[in-house]
């Protein structure tokens, strides 16, 4: 590690994902005519907003050094809850999922921090629990909502040709980024993720910070549910299955380290876009849907390999 390093190569290495993204967009634009239409780009952005918001929440959790595998099942649960209220009281359809999200996030955080349990295994348990809860809530069926809720404009409205929820996604991302970089809470999150012992000795209650991170993650899921349910008329209790891996893939290939401490929302957005562009290209090339998971899994492994900070210390 050179002390000063060439400033240029440092920037290059740091923003490599952005560069790859730009390269891919350029390459695909040249080789595939259907890629570079505005319609395709808008379509692409539309698809990323739901996963994008969830990934922003996941980024915060990853920076504290944990993972939240429950986001997919929680999405399923909050989605059916939200839609089930569409027929009676729209406002509750927004309010109740948010309350539930806070409770779920608190429970996740509490169990993991109070008992010092591995977050992957604990949230794996949550995943099962909330997946079953979603199925139980709808009794396995798909429930019906209504068309034309008052907040349907979120999912269906447009401003200057771009869907409202795309704006919401970017606003959320900006809020989270400000939280992370410009607030004391965000700084605490970074300290806890970089060196928990040092953070504790500096007076930071790391348990509280991690719990807050999990709450942020679950609340992000609730916001994503809002975006999603506002344009759906039916709700399936298994919609969110696999969302956790999309979110983790986006975060990890965006360049946020699984070891904790380093990362940013900006990087995650790049990751989300990168993933979307790759999937989009695959679709345009008529590659079957099944291959998407292959690509995701492969990218996760590659990203982990590249992330040197995650390497175990050499034994002996």
């Amino acid at each position: 590690m050179s002390k000063k390093g060439n400033k240029f190569t440092n920037i290059l290495r740091d923003q490599s994902q952005l560069i790859i993204l730009i390269l891919l967009i350029v390459i695909f634009s040249i080789t595939t005519p259907s890629f570079r239409t505005t319609g395709n780009f808008v379509n692409l952005l539309k698809q990323v907003t739901v996963i994008g918001v969830i990934s922003c929440g996941m980024t915060i959790v990853v920076i504290t050094g944990c993972l939240d595998l429950s986001v997919g099942s929680v999405f399923s649960l909050l989605n059916v809850v939200s839609i089930s209220f569409q027929q009676s009281n729209n406002f509750l359809g927004i309010f109740i999922p948010l309350i539930m999200a806070v409770v779920i996030g608190f429970l996740n955080g509490f169990v993991i921090t109070k008992f010092k349990v591995n977050s992957i295994i604990a949230t794996l348990g949550s995943l099962s629990f909330y997946a079953g809860a979603a199925l139980l809530y709808t009794n396995g069926a798909i429930i019906a909502g209504v068309t034309g809720t008052w907040y349907g404009f979120i999912g269906r409205g447009k401003l200057l040709g771009i869907p409202i929820h795309v704006y919401i996604f970017f606003i959320i991302a900006i809020i989270y980024q400000i939280l992370l970089n410009n607030t004391t809470l965000g700084r605490k999150i970074k300290y806890v993720g970089t060196n928990t012992t040092a953070a504790e000795i500096a007076g930071i209650r790391s348990n509280r910070i991690r719990t807050i991170a999990f709450i942020i993650s679950s609340v992000s899921v609730a916001i994503a549910v809002l975006i999603y349910s506002s344009r759906m008329t039916t709700g399936s209790p298994v919609t969110g299955a696999g969302f956790e891996f999309d979110a983790i893939t986006a975060v990890v290939i965006g360049g946020t380290s699984l070891a904790g401490g380093k990362g940013s929302i900006f990087k995650t957005i790049i990751g989300v876009l990168l993933l979307a562009v790759i999937i989009n290209a695959l679709t345009l090339y008529n590659v079957p849907y099944a291959f998407q998971n292959i690509v995701k899994g492969f990218l996760i492994i590659v990203a982990i390999i590249i992330d040197i900070r995650v390497r175990r210390r050499i034994e002996g």
């Binding site: 965000g186 040092a198 500096a202």
Partner: protein, 493 residues
């Protein structure tokens, strides 16, 4: 002569650990090495056991030059080292630990001959008159027993010739020490040589055939059993007594801080202490004295069975470092890299944590203010860094420690608890840190300082408590704080 070491040099960036060291060892000899921390004992042993490589000098084994490149090479010669922190497998049985890597094989390919394993282990244990059931889990043994097993393990190596023991008695009772010595004598009978490193002079003179005294990376002198003289040994250990440095003592004798009835299971027995405003109080103790757990429990980092802390006469409750900080009590951990530094973050991010959450305490961060703060303290403490946003991992150890000091100063502490503040720091930075500490005391900050270097105490402390096996043994003030007194007290001489 079994082992001959001549003019070995070993340097690290900023320090000379071994400065042309000479040392020799006879066959079947128990040769002790004494010396202060930092004198070079551990470094030489690490070279012998293959963990470090010497820069220059010769090592001869049985009159042949050897190069000990790595741990396997050392073991091939027959050198085994028993560390202070035992490297064993707690969950396995005694027998499996002794024969780790050399399990006796049964006739069936790939299987263990458990019968033979037990019989062989019992045989060796019997030779040394150790009454332990080889089938017991290692974790169920006392520390002393585990140490004995460690020794047994070391000699089951094919051609064990030299065993190095580093502070083997630090957590042993008197009876257990006697047992250990019996074992060592038995080893001697078998023709195995022992290099025995210890701070316990009283024990050392009882067991050693010869004693070498190390100081400042050199072997200051070798004494034969017939010549043993503790006064001479201590004198060789400390060399020239430095003139006690000028220390200011605060005129007001106000008790700012008091600890009563502090007890920690297995470590500290009913500790009581008063601390005055502007005083620098030192705590000295060998390994096993409990001083680390003591200070950690004050700030809530180690559980205490009972603990009463009084600040200006009022009782306060400290369960977490955050509580301590609220009362102006700050702790400096002994391992910067693991416990203080946020290595991947900038210098300013490392200076600001306490300030951000206790002084500035606003929801939104003012990065400008943070940079100003960093610049102020960088100047005040003479921290050498290319810029405030340089990652702290690139700074030298001394500058890193100064950053941590700055961190503590940003919230104008009333009591600073410093655990080995100058560990691994170059001499120049050490001086700077001593001056910072003295300046703070003169301004009314009380300081509680732990150190493994006894010399250091004489330079900064107004008062020194000597801790031994969980209890206060002695207390020295002002002119009585001499290296000689401290060493003699700590070593129970």
């Amino acid at each position: 002569m079994l082992l001959e070491i001549k003019k070995v040099i070993k340097t690290f960036p900023g320090t000379v650990a071994l400065d042309e060291v000479d040392f020799n060892l006879k066959k079947g000899e128990i040769h002790a090495i004494v010396g202060e921390n930092g004198a070079g004992k551990s470094t030489l042993m690490k070279i012998l056991s293959g963990a470090y490589k010497k820069d220059s000098g010769t090592i001869k084994f049985e009159d042949k030059k050897v190069a000990i490149g790595d741990v396997d090479a050392a073991r091939a010669i027959g050198i085994s080292m028993i560390y202070q922190e035992l490297e064993n497998i707690q969950k396995l049985s005694v027998a499996e630990n002794v024969f780790l890597g050399k399990l006796p094989r049964s006739r069936v390919l790939g299987f263990v001959n458990f019968k033979k394993l037990m019989i062989e282990t019992k045989k060796i244990l019997k030779e040394f008159d150790i009454d332990i059931d080889p089938g017991k889990k290692l974790a169920s043994l006392t520390t002393a027993e585990q140490q004995f097993i460690e020794i047994i393990k070391a000699i089951t190596v094919k051609n064990a010739r030299i065993i190095i023991m580093d502070e083997p008695t630090s957590s042993l009772t008197k009876k257990e020490v006697e047992k250990l010595f019996l074992i060592i004598k038995e080893l001697k009978k078998k023709g195995i040589s022992i290099i025995y490193i210890s701070h316990r002079l009283d024990e050392v003179v009882g067991i050693a055939d010869r004693i070498s005294v190390f100081r400042d990376g050199k072997n200051q002198g070798v004494m034969k059993k017939s010549e043993f003289d503790t006064n001479k040994i201590v004198a060789l250990m400390i060399g020239r007594e430095l003139k006690a440095a000028e220390k200011s003592v605060s005129k007001e004798q106000k008790i700012i801080f008091e600890i009563k009835r502090l007890s920690i299971r297995n470590k500290i027995i009913d500790f009581n202490m008063k601390l005055y405003k502007g005083e620098i109080l030192g705590i000295v103790g060998l390994m096993g004295s409990g001083k680390d757990e003591l200070v950690k429990s004050i700030v809530g980092l180690w559980p205490a069975q009972s603990k009463e802390i009084y600040f200006l006469g009022k009782r306060i409750n400290i369960k977490h470092p955050a509580d301590a900080i609220k009362h102006g009590i700050i702790y400096l951990p002994e391992e910067r890299k693991l416990q203080s530094l946020f290595l991947d973050m900038s210098v300013s991010a490392n200076i600001s944590p306490l300030w951000l959450f206790n002084v500035e305490n606003k929801f939104f961060m003012n990065t400008k203010k943070e940079i100003e703060l960093t610049k102020t303290y960088a100047k005040r403490l003479a921290i050498r860094t290319p810029s405030v946003s340089t990652l702290i991992v690139y700074l030298s150890g001394g500058n890193q420690q100064k950053v941590i000091f700055s961190r503590m100063l940003t919230i104008k502490p009333k009591l600073m608890i410093l655990n080995d503040p100058t560990r691994g720091i170059d001499v120049g930075s050490k001086e700077e840190i001593y001056n910072i500490i003295k300046e703070l005391a003169s301004k009314g900050v009380s300081i509680f300082i732990l150190s493994s270097e006894i010399q250091e105490m004489t330079r900064v402390a107004n008062r020194v408590i000597v801790l031994s096996k969980g209890e206060i043994r002695d207390e020295f003030t002002d002119k009585d704080i001499t290296t000689k007194n401290l060493i003699r007290s700590a070593m129970r001489v």
